[in-house]
């Protein structure tokens, strides 16, 4: 057994000013449900964290309810990340909130400099109401579009402020600007953490079903099967936008590697060996937007990856 701790997954949260990054972070903190989250923010300038969550303040570190922490990194992102890598006990997950002008893809690549951390999905927030206007802005339009093009998952926020047909048009436009990304419409960042987090290799007991789907926005599918698969081929197939998958998790028997876990957030997939005892049966769980998730296509992809 290696004594080296497993790398800590880092979700990169990008998007232009006012898109709702901080709102989403607060939402995730309020619904951490036992996860020990470490949040990194550019600065504490505009009180990024709900007062109710703060237990203690210690220089550039806020101690939050439930063992979570929040640090500001200012001009030294790498130093702050390094510090998190040495935290004992280590956090379960890092949420890295980028500045509004940062390129989230570049920030995600910075993570490869630190072996103690591993890249989770790049989440890019967008304000549904003002996105098209921002994307046409003389100064930052190009940047806003680049940010979207670097997303694994676009959290399309403030959807309550636009009409249904407007939302549809916007999603169509996003397909052109960011063909690689899955789009998650929402309001005030209210999304189940399971949808956004967790390329980490250790599967959680909780399933994939979003805990708070009052609007019945999501559909999920769970497929049990017997055969061994080529996990890499399956991951590639699941990345196809036609499946309408936002998030998938599979407990698989790979023909070469044996039991493993497949984690998929948007276009980004990850395969890790499965620790502990083998499950009774291979299973693949997928989730997508109601009306967009194509169960048949998912089953076909699974069949095609039979080893």
């Amino acid at each position: 057994m290696s004594a080296v701790a497993p790398p800590i997954p880092v979700s990169v949260i990008g998007g232009y000013l006012g898109a709702g990054k901080t709102t989403l972070v607060n939402h995730l903190l309020r619904h951490a449900e036992g996860r020990r989250l470490a949040v990194l923010v550019n600065d504490f300038g505009e009180l990024p964290i709900d007062d109710a969550l703060i237990e203690a303040r210690d220089g550039n570190l806020l101690r939050l309810a439930g063992g979570c922490v929040c640090c500001s990194f200012g001009s030294d992102l790498l130093g702050a990340l390094q510090q998190l890598g040495t935290m004992r006990p280590p956090p379960d997950q890092v949420l890295l909130e980028c500045s509004g002008v940062a390129r989230p893809g570049a920030v995600a690549r910075t993570l490869t400099l630190l072996p103690a951390l591993q890249r989770d999905a790049v989440l890019v927030l967008a304000d549904a109401e003002t996105l098209r206007e921002r994307a046409a802005d003389r100064y930052v339009g190009e940047l806003v579009q680049q940010q979207l093009a670097e997303a694994d998952l676009i959290v399309l926020n403030k959807c309550d402020r636009i009409a249904a047909h407007g939302l549809q048009a916007l999603q169509g436009w996003l397909t052109g600007v960011a063909p690689q990304a899955r789009v998650l419409p929402c309001t005030q960042g209210r999304l189940a953490p399971e949808l956004l987090l967790g390329l980490g290799s250790v599967p959680r007991a909780a399933g994939l079903a979003p805990a708070h789907d009052a609007a019945r926005q999501f559909a999920s599918v769970s497929v049990a099967f017997d055969h061994a698969v080529d996990a890499a081929r399956l991951a590639e197939a699941l990345a196809d936008p036609a499946l309408g998958l936002l998030r998938a998790k599979g407990l698989l028997r790979d023909a070469l590697r044996g039991w493993c876990v497949l984690q998929q957030v948007g276009a980004r997939g990850r395969i890790d060996a499965l620790p502990g005892t083998a499950p009774a049966q291979p299973r693949l769980v997928g989730i997508g937007l109601r009306g967009q998730l194509d169960e048949d296509a998912l089953r076909r992809a699974l069949a095609a990856s039979r080893a």
Binding site: G74, G79, V101, T112, L113, P115
Partner: protein
């Protein structure tokens, strides 16, 4: 009553319109009682005639409107630049013309290190002049295979290091995927590290960490010696995080009787504007005579030679994609509005013309919300501005501090590669600024280029590049205008022109002491004019008598 000293000089260039030339200046309590002929000054009462400077030419103490205190700290490391450069001790280090020269110099410095584990760091490296022969870690492994060795480039944006330095940072491994860390055929980093994130860890290993250098007392003293040798009596630190723990050191050191420089640190604004603007407003009350606090610097974009500046159409000459915003234009506007509201002066770094437009637009809207007469917000570098932008600066009350030195060191690159011939010709358009009536300063950005305002003036007067090309002959300015830009012009951009920048009754007794008259020597010799030293707050500092180590 404090004693009066009357300084006798061969000639005094006062830069004061009502009496441009004089021979004597009377000083009491570090301030100027009067300037003129001796018999016009004796009426103030008993005096001591100071004749040490009787054969010298005095002009107002030079004002460096854009430098970094870090230049002082850098001299503790090995100078690896391509051009001759004088250190705080007055020793001139010849330029290292080839990579082998650089390596030899590092080896020579290494021979003086007793501890085999002590890192060896250099600065000022500029391989542009080595036909872009790239330095890789194997080159620096020839200096030492075991000791961390590295050097930071002249631009400040790249570090080259050896294998031991990479290993100490934990980066001598495969699996790195970062645009700032190029990999060799073996999948390992080549030792070239580009951009703040890529540089940070190795900078820490080498002792080149910016935040550490910012609070460095020894570096501050070395910086002040460079100022004396350059005739500078007031210099900016543009900008500093000004950590609370550094403030007492800065106040104490600058207040020492033997400290020869007035320091103006600008507080760097990053992220949310309000806390920084409010902190700057609060700092104003803590200023002393030789430490002037309460101004803010904002960085809007990157650099042109690094292709990180924001350019308007048609963009970079070589087709490189547009650069980076270092602050969102909305936040910039918010910062400017808050600063106007709280009476905090702001200097904004812009290099590309699109970044300059963002400041012009932002300030226009900010002024609609919070009109403030005579705000003197200043564009720093502002290298690529065109004539229409200078007209808007004038209309909005902006000042400009142009990077005249840059033209000499990188003008050929701009002509050939970054912006092409026409726009390279208009870069740092000093003549347009003057013709438009925009208050003008010029600067070194030391340590990016040497702290030497007379050289900076020479650059603005001749616009010669390193290869000898006159780049933009119509943007050249006269010697008198250039001398004004490095005195009263820079003082104006700091709102200190009522105190410094000319030799007049009531102002600080700050003089640059020269062996000859800069208006009388051939203009081509301006950069070589020997500086004898300075008088600062009435105290004489001869360059030849500075402490050395």
């Amino acid at each position: 009553m404090s004693p009066i000293t009357i300084f006798q000089a061969r000639r005094i260039l006062t830069m004061a319109p009502s009496r441009p030339l004089a021979t004597h200046v009377a000083v009491r309590d570090g301030r100027i009682l009067g300037v003129g002929a001796l018999d016009e000054l004796t009426g103030w009462g008993p005096y001591r005639l100071e004749t040490r400077l009787a054969d010298k030419v005095l002009m107002p103490g030079l004002v460096e409107g854009h430098s970094h205190l870090m230049e002082g700290a850098f001299w503790r490391f090995v100078y690896c630049g391509c051009f001759d450069r004088r250190d705080p001790n007055g020793r001139t280090w010849p330029g290292a013309k080839t990579l082998d020269d650089v390596l030899a110099r590092l080896r020579e410095a290494q021979a003086r290190l007793a501890d085999p584990a002590q890192p060896l760091a250099g600065w000022g490296f500029d391989p542009i002049y080595f036909d872009n022969r790239r330095c890789v870690r194997e080159d620096l492994d020839r200096v030492s295979p075991t000791r961390p060795v590295g050097m930071i480039h002249a631009s400040g944006h790249i570090i080259n290091c050896n294998s031991a330095a990479l290993a100490a940072a934990g980066w001598l491994r495969s699996g790195i995927d970062h645009p700032g860390v190029p990999l060799g055929a073996d999948g390992l980093p080549t030792g070239e590290l580009k951009g703040p994130e890529a540089m940070m860890a190795v900078a820490g290993v080498l002792g080149l960490d910016r935040a550490v250098l910012a609070g460095d007392e020894a570096g501050l003293r070395l910086f002040s010696r460079l100022c004396v040798r350059a005739g500078v009596t007031t210099a900016t630190d543009l900008a500093s995080p000004l950590p609370d723990e550094a403030l007492p050191m800065l106040l104490r050191t600058t207040a020492e009787d033997g400290f020869p420089t007035r320091v103006v640190p600008l507080l760097r604004l990053m992220g949310a504007p309000e806390p920084t603007i409010l902190r700057a407003a609060a700092l104003q009350g803590q200023s002393s005579d030789r430490l002037r606090l309460g101004r803010v610097k904002i960085v809007a974009d990157g650099s042109i030679q690094g292709f990180s500046a924001r350019l308007r159409w048609p963009g970079y000459y070589n087709g490189a994609p547009n650069g980076l915003w270092y602050i969102a234009p909305e936040q910039l506007q918010q910062a400017l509005t808050l600063a106007l509201q709280h009476g905090v002066q702001v200097h904004v770094h812009t290099n590309g013309d699109e970044a300059t437009d963002a400041v012009l637009d932002g300030l226009e809207r900010a002024l609609e919300q919070h009109p403030r007469p005579d705000h003197r917000f200043t564009l720093q570098h502002c290298q690529l501005a065109d004539a229409a932008q200078f007209r808007r600066m004038k209309a909005l009350g902006l000042c400009v501090n142009l990077f005249a030195n840059h033209h000499f060191y990188w003008g050929d690159e701009h002509y050939r590669l970054t912006v092409g011939p026409e726009r390279a010709t208009r870069m740092n358009a000093c003549a347009t600024a003057l013709a438009t009536g925009v208050p003008l300063a010029i600067h070194s950005d030391a340590p990016i280029t040497p702290l030497a305002p007379l050289f900076t003036a020479w650059c603005a007067v001749h616009r010669l590049t390193a290869s000898g090309r006159t780049l933009g002959e119509h943007e050249r300015i006269g010697v008198a205008d250039a001398l004004r830009a490095i005195t009263l012009g820079a003082a104006w951009t700091l709102k200190l022109d009522g105190e410094i920048g000319s030799i007049e009754c009531g102002k600080r007794a700050d003089f640059c002491v020269l062996d000859d008259d800069p208006l009388a020597v051939p203009a081509m010799q301006l950069k070589d004019l020997p500086v004898w030293g300075v008088v600062q707050d009435g105290r004489i500092f001869a360059a030849s008598e500075l402490p050395t180590d």
